[in-house]
Symmetry: C2
Subunit: 388 residues, 2 copies
Amino acid sequence: MEGNFVYHNPTKLYFGDNAMSHLATELGNYGSTVMLSYGGGSIKRNGIYDAVVEALRQAGKTVVEDPGVMPNPTYEKVMEGARMVRDNAVDLILAVGGGSTIDYAKGVSASAYCDGDAWERFWVNQESPTGRIVPVGAVLTMVGTGSEMNGGSVITNRKAGFKRGKVFGPALYPRFAILNPRFTMTVPQYQMVAGFFDIMSHLMEQYFAGTADCTTDYINEGLMRSLIHASRIAAKNPHDYEARANIMWTATWALNTLLKCGKGGDWEVHQIGHAIGLVTDATHGMTLACVSLPYYRHVMRDGLHQFVRFAKNVWGVNPEGKADEQVAAESLACLEAWMKEIGVVMHSRELGVTEENIEQVADAVLILPVGYRTLTRDEVVDILRKSM
Amino acid sequence: MEGNFVYHNPTKLYFGDNAMSHLATELGNYGSTVMLSYGGGSIKRNGIYDAVVEALRQAGKTVVEDPGVMPNPTYEKVMEGARMVRDNAVDLILAVGGGSTIDYAKGVSASAYCDGDAWERFWVNQESPTGRIVPVGAVLTMVGTGSEMNGGSVITNRKAGFKRGKVFGPALYPRFAILNPRFTMTVPQYQMVAGFFDIMSHLMEQYFAGTADCTTDYINEGLMRSLIHASRIAAKNPHDYEARANIMWTATWALNTLLKCGKGGDWEVHQIGHAIGLVTDATHGMTLACVSLPYYRHVMRDGLHQFVRFAKNVWGVNPEGKADEQVAAESLACLEAWMKEIGVVMHSRELGVTEENIEQVADAVLILPVGYRTLTRDEVVDILRKSM
């Protein structure tokens, strides 16, 4: 364990195929007016919308409809939501959807009664909210971001021309989340698999840092092994409840702050992936997939001990009679084979990275001075080229 | 994953050798009168008492002294504490000590404003508190029970002649806990090692149940591996900060409800251990140690798949060319070797179990109809005999 830390995660999780049956009772803990935030019409087609509305009705709530939360929620939409919260004296924001919708709801919660410009205060200056907070609840329909049990809120400002993440404190975490694995089964295969890789990337970003012996790494290895096993089953049979349940639970714990306790993190793969997404508008998880192998091959020698550990404890590589470099390289061969098996996109050119825009992507990459190696811009370009 | 569950753990943990520096600020969240509950004089000798009192002074609190919490806290003491809480209008109970002191503080919290007989309501009838709750905070000085982040409260009623456990809900969990690994370093070797085995037993009791693929088991395996590694270091060098820190963190997560999410548990080793403790007054962790090998050898065939998994994923047993029974048996040989290495008591006769009192111990064992096998009384006696 390195350094000192605080762990505090008060989100209440209702998990299982019966989780929705708790919603009406849980709603009793909040005031009478609920803003129902969601994205497109998919929850109306698959019955989730009707089930939520029925629970709201049972709990006797007044509902303020807030549809149209987009996959990359904009600050303009956050401002609209904040106005609706004030105009209707909303007591609870109930986000029904994936990470985007929940990220959006937290943004609205912090912004509704914010003095001054919320964009500048929270997403640019990274201040903590000091004003009134409107509680957020969540019904999760897509896994990957972990937004259901953390303070993350990634918002795109179209006027400013960029996307920014803010990690709010526990007061902004969803007060409760309904996690029914069946609700995730209608997500298309491409999005589902991208979500699986996003989870794996959250785990690897936190794993590949530090040298101390740390319980957190052992927990992380367990989550990786569970995800690898379950994702192989789910990629073939998306309706396998057990696999989808284990993946949903792994996704929540992959990014709820537990895995950063007592150690640092890397997050450079996410930086490069975000830059690709900004230029190509490609699906987040797939941008991470294309970048991961070239990135990890590049930094492998700098964090060799951890790649050897990854090989033995996550992939079951037998190290006998092999040099550390070989053992480490075998871990990445295992990672590659798993990626192909579940069917992620392996080449960034398939997402729209070209010789023409590669410099533009490189310019958009934020280089973090953490992890096992701090990249130069040339190294970023090299990794991007190898990702094509 | 099996069934539906709720996970909710709002305890705020301050972890590290600087954790105490947060106490004065944290105390600002509570009213002016703090009851300071602790056991014997050890915290006065090792400086922890002075540090706590200094934080209370900085925070401007009025302190009500409540010393003398015994290793197996009695209901009579709980009633005394409850009276002190009422008489002094206490706003926070600050428990400084190990599991006993924190278990006691939760008992006082629930009992202080309880209508009717608290023993009957909570520990006998297992009711949930409906009256006013006095917040509990903790400064942990001994690891093992996980009481710092759960609702457990084991209390002994001398008049009734038995010990009972109550698991309160999250409202009774400590609101915060100060976890400084250095505070655990003054515990004598015998108690320290007993605590290590208690942690391992919490992990095994929750691991040896169920047949479904469950992320929880993967997390559990990670915690077991971290504990085994760190305890080997700490048993030789109790002042190894890294090892003690990893053990402290593992102990908290071993029993904070995460490891029962999505699966059942066993807990029969604890039942037999409690019966030995009741008759001999032996240290809890050592009673579990004596019983574990004979118990697991007895139920191994009933849960063979899980013992094979335990062998491969926790102990690194190579299964190639071996029958499942052999692989499973090797896991218990590894467990035995580890137990001897850290130095737990291996034979219950050393704790005072004799041919004369063995039937009395067996009579005190509560047989649970869960885990891989429900024991008969004859099987309990057989396991006890083999534990001697």
